[in-house]
């Protein structure tokens, strides 16, 4: 049997630093570079929550293509701040090694465990696990965070309708010091630009993402698609919450943020390829309005 391709997980791993790793793993024809790849975590000193989602998504993409994935990690990772401890606590090693590295590893109060959520299970997962975690962590009512739950519903419906996959990898963390919540979700489907460019072949991948967040822009991947899901996400998070949304898909990157109360969008083309779609959502907890147990509101046309 041939030797595995060994790739180093970078010193700091986040959506900004992921591309060299992706280049080491995915060839120009968008296939895995080897049938057996070992990910070496020995240099890793810091990993963002989105980094965990990216690794999970990449592993799923490789496994789906019959690539054997193995892991190499430092044998003595001690301390709560060590990234291996953080990965272990997130459930990452349990999922991809079949067991925790440290038997005492457990999910932290500030994080949700890494989950691979199928569309079929997504409604229950969002309704029970996600809402419970977010309301308990922020000491908020369901009514206060309903807009963000709906955003994730939109993303799962998008995965089902467009990604040609039915599974999303998701990981979330609360940062008490900044009073922010980061939610990272990724699918390993065909990617948003792939769908957009089937109808608009002259668009760059970045232009495809910029158009995909406009209300009513639809790729008609399904006849019922009306191009609202990503628009709803950006409206609720960037306009209303003054948070941020970052989308990486195929060779496109779109950063959506609120600058001086003006929603601002920066689209970039990456020379590297992201297999599927990665979305990082940053919520500003200070801007979430506390809504008491809700009273009904009369609908008027």
């Amino acid at each position: 049997m041939s030797e595995p391709l060994v790739v180093m997980v970078p010193y700091q791993f986040s959506r900004q630093t992921m591309y060299p790793l992706l280049d080491n793993v995915i060839d120009r024809d968008l296939n895995p570079k080897a049938s057996h790849i070992t990910f070496d975590f020995n240099q890793l000193s810091f990993i963002e929550p989105t980094g965990i989602t990216i690794l999970s998504n990449l592993f799923e993409w490789l496994i789906k293509r019959q690539t054997r994935v193995t892991l190499s990690y430092p044998s003595q990772a001690t301390g709560r701040n060590h990234p291996i401890t953080f990965l272990d606590d997130s459930g990452f090693f349990k999922r991809y090694l079949g067991q925790k590295i440290n038997p005492l590893a457990c999910v932290r109060d500030t994080t949700m465990p890494l989950e691979k959520v199928t569309y079929e299970r997504s409604f229950q997962w969002l309704n029970n696990d996600f809402v419970s975690w977010l309301t308990n962590t922020l000491d908020m009512t369901t009514e206060s965070i309903i807009d963000f739950k709906i955003c994730l519903e939109e993303l799962f419906n998008n995965i089902k309708d467009h990604a040609k996959e039915d599974t999303g990898c998701i990981f979330s963390q609360y940062y008490p010091r900044n009073n922010e919540v980061k939610i990272s979700i990724s699918d390993f489907g065909v990617g948003i630009p792939h769908n957009v460019k089937s109808q608009h072949p002259t668009f760059s991948d970045a232009e495809a993402l910029l158009n995909a967040i406009q209300e009513g822009f639809s790729t008609q991947s399904t006849p019922r698609n009306r191009g609202v899901g990503l628009h709803t996400l950006v409206k609720n998070v960037v306009e209303h919450n003054q948070g941020c949304v970052y989308i990486h898909s195929n060779n496109g990157i779109l950063s959506c943020m609120n600058v001086n109360n003006v929603p601002t969008f920066i689209d970039q083309v990456s020379s590297s390829f992201y297999p599927g779609t990665l979305i990082e959502i940053v919520l500003k907890v200070d801007n979430i309005e506390y809504i008491p147990i809700e009273e009904e509101e009369t609908y008027t046309w």
Binding site: E143, I150, E153, N157, G216, R224, G229, E294
Partner: protein
């Protein structure tokens, strides 16, 4: 003309997908065909996404004009999020169809 009540969770487990919306759409259309007014009730529903709303309600615009829908469709037991999603979806789609006509 009678006012018919459709409580969504009596017919679907959740307001989540196009398929969930399709079941509600069929019920509404059946009553509209009889000339009835329909009150859609969202008892115990915390929120709705665009996939559900698009299929359950926006697709009515393919068969009925907006004035007819406004006089024959009502919503009950709803909340801020549900109302906002339904209203913004109708506003956008009605505006878009008017633009298509004028262009």
């Amino acid at each position: 003309m009678v006012n018919v009540n459709i409580n969504v969770l009596d017919h679907i487990n959740q307001c989540y997908s196009n398929n969930d919306g399709q079941i509600i759409l069929n019920l509404i259309k059946k009553e509209f065909a009889k000339g009835n007014v329909v009150s859609v009730a969202f008892k115990d529903v915390s929120g709705v996404n665009s996939s559900f709303v698009n299929t359950a309600f926006i697709e009515l615009l393919d068969s009925y004009d907006f004035d007819f829908i406004k006089t024959h469709l009502q919503f009950k037991n709803s909340n801020r999020q549900i109302n906002s999603m339904i209203k913004s979806r109708f506003d956008f789609e009605v505006k878009r169809s008017k633009q298509l006509v004028t262009n």
